[in-house]
């Protein structure tokens, strides 16, 4: 009996947790005439009209594309630079390694919110305001530490003998990195790709500061502005929200195990 009660309570919690998302999806498909019905009533006749309207007229197609470009570039470049740096930190001997380790540790402590004012000035100084490149550099810098540590923790597990053997066989450092070490760190690559893509996709603050021209904007800023000007457009807002959520929800459902492992990796060891 206890088991069933437990299952029942958990079931209720699970339904409460997803219901805000389900209600939003319901609303996004409702014809305007059905808005008088309570939010938990499913749409009687489905309409895609709000999606079409938001996608074409409100510019969400462009926001979507901008967000996709920034997030994908972030993820790919992060994998490369974080793994290279982690390789140097783990396999190479050099002076100042401890200083460098502390420097990377500092990165784990810096809250983005606290340093956005000077960050804005630096991006402006490079002439990168209103460019995707400016946002990408900022994203990479602010999350780099996390992923250097993610890769390091995998690299440390590579058997020293394997590494030495490759070196004796005359392989260059880059060949060892490419052929020996990276294939072992595939889980770290997946974790990095997923988390960096997700963080980049979801961020508002940096994009709000660095992208002010409409054609450069991302979904987060686009949705914020849409909300500001079309406050009462419940159906439009719902479909905009769904458009923003769909890609990451799908990624999560496909790679749930990796997400969960990535999110807990830093926290529990």
């Amino acid at each position: 009996m206890g088991r069933w009660l437990l299952l029942f309570v958990l079931g209720v919690i699970a339904i409460l947790m997803v219901s805000p998302l389900i209600l939003t999806v319901f609303t996004s498909f409702k014809p305007t005439t059905e808005l008088v019905n309570p939010p938990w009533a499913p749409p009687v006749s489905l309409t895609f009209e709000h999606y079409v309207r938001v996608w074409t007229e409100a510019g969400f197609s462009r926001y979507f594309f901008n967000t996709l470009v920034i997030s994908a570039v972030d993820a790919v470049v992060m994998i490369v630079i974080a793994s290279l740096a982690a390789y140097a930190m783990v396999f190479m001997e050099f002076r100042g390694k401890l200083v460098l380790r502390v420097l990377f540790l500092i990165g784990l402590m810096i809250p983005v919110t606290a340093i956005v004012l000077p960050l804005f000035q630096i991006v402006r100084g490079f002439g990168l305001l209103n460019t995707h490149l400016g946002v990408i550099f900022a994203d990479l810098a602010l999350a780099l530490s996390v992923f250097v540590f993610v890769f390091s923790s995998y690299f440390v597990g590579v058997p020293k003998e394997l590494h030495e053997a490759a070196r004796i066989d005359g392989a260059t450092e880059f060949q060892i990195y490419r052929r020996v070490v990276m294939p072992i760190a595939v889980p770290a690559v997946v974790t990095t790709a997923l988390l960096e893509f997700l963080w980049s996709w979801n961020d508002l603050l940096l994009r709000l500061l660095l992208l002010t021209r409409d054609e450069m904007r991302t979904l987060s800023v686009g949705l914020l502005n849409f909300q500001g000007t079309m406050t009462r457009d419940v159906t439009g807002l719902s479909s905009g929200t769904v458009i923003m959520a769909i890609p990451v929800v799908l990624l999560f459902l496909f790679f749930q195990r990796h997400f969960v492992r990535g999110m807990t990796a830093g926290a529990v060891k």
Partner: protein, 295 residues
């Protein structure tokens, strides 16, 4: 051969090539601004003019007498407190229940963790809509006979901060649950066995076996929730911008207003430094606990 491993210079060149991409970006766009924000905080810069004057501690003196800063400071702590109570307390309870269930466990876990990946901006839109005076929250309250509690949540001075904290907790509690679950799986099964033999009921074994075993994990979730909730900007900015009046103003939104919108770079930076100090302290404690764990 440019990268000939036999060459005397190869190790240095390699080191340079491996570290330089990451290090350049990192120093220019993360480390340098961290020092800059401290430097700005001692000036009267407006963010635009080429000239900035050194004003010593003037911005910090102003901080201490600024009623709005202290309101934001207080709100930030209340905000974090509420989120910690929910994410740590309820998170632990949900994880403990989930650990005892096999049927439908993955499905339930998926539902609880799913909101974690939703953008704070989307979370803001969803909850703003649900919190409307005629929104679904008030409709449900009326439906179950608690219509007296209905209020315009985001417009109510007494409720707004708690309402937003609840929305934030909704979107982050999945992370706590997952971390607690990982911790629970590491608890020695034999301890439960022994407790069962000694005649302990479910509550007692939770109280005397699970809780002590989870103390380090609880500390981790506690500090993690604390640092993450201190950094929040998006969801508050996208719903109330700190309003009504200042009732949901937190440090990050106040800094954004003074610094980015009003162009008081010096003063905004002083607020940023306050935020930096608090989060760094919490993170240092967090890493200390973790390194103790590793040993």
């Amino acid at each position: 051969m440019f990268l000939d491993p036999e060459s005397k210079w190869a190790p240095r060149l390699n080191l340079f090539l491996f570290l330089m991409p990451a290090l350049t970006i990192y120093i220019v766009f993360a480390i340098y601004p961290t020092f800059s924000v401290v430097e700005y905080s001692f000036t009267d810069w407006d963010g635009i003019s080429p000239k900035r004057n050194f004003v010593g501690l003037a911005n910090y003196e102003r901080l201490f007498t600024d009623k709005i800063f202290w309101a934001a400071f207080r709100n930030t702590f209340v905000w974090s407190g509420v989120i910690i109570v929910i994410n740590v307390g309820l998170g632990l309870v949900i994880a403990a229940m989930l650990a005892r269930v096999w049927k439908a466990r993955l499905l339930i876990q998926t539902c609880i963790v799913l909101p974690v990946v939703i953008s704070p901006m989307a979370v803001a839109t969803i909850w703003r809509w649900m919190y409307q005076p005629t929104g679904v929250i008030n409709q449900v309250l009326e439906g179950i006979g608690l219509g007296g509690l209905a209020t315009p949540w985001l417009g109510s001075p007494g409720a707004v901060l708690y309402a937003l904290a609840l929305a934030h907790s909704w979107s982050t509690i999945g992370l706590s649950v997952v971390i607690f679950l990982a911790g629970l799986q590491a608890v020695d099964e034999n301890l439960y066995e022994a407790a069962h033999v000694d005649g302990a009921n479910a509550f007692q074994s939770f109280r005397y076996v699970t809780l002590p075993a989870l103390r380090p994990v609880t500390a981790v979730v506690f500090i993690l929730t604390l640092t993450q909730s201190f950094k929040v900007f998006d969801i508050v900015w996208a719903t109330t911008q700190g309003g009504p009046v200042r009732f949901s103003e937190i440090l990050s939104t106040y800094m954004y207003k003074r610094g980015a919108l009003e162009k008081q770079y010096g003063y905004g930076s002083a607020i940023g430094v306050a935020l930096l100090v608090i989060v760094s302290l919490a993170t240092v404690i967090y890493m200390q606990i973790q390194s103790k764990e590793d040993r």
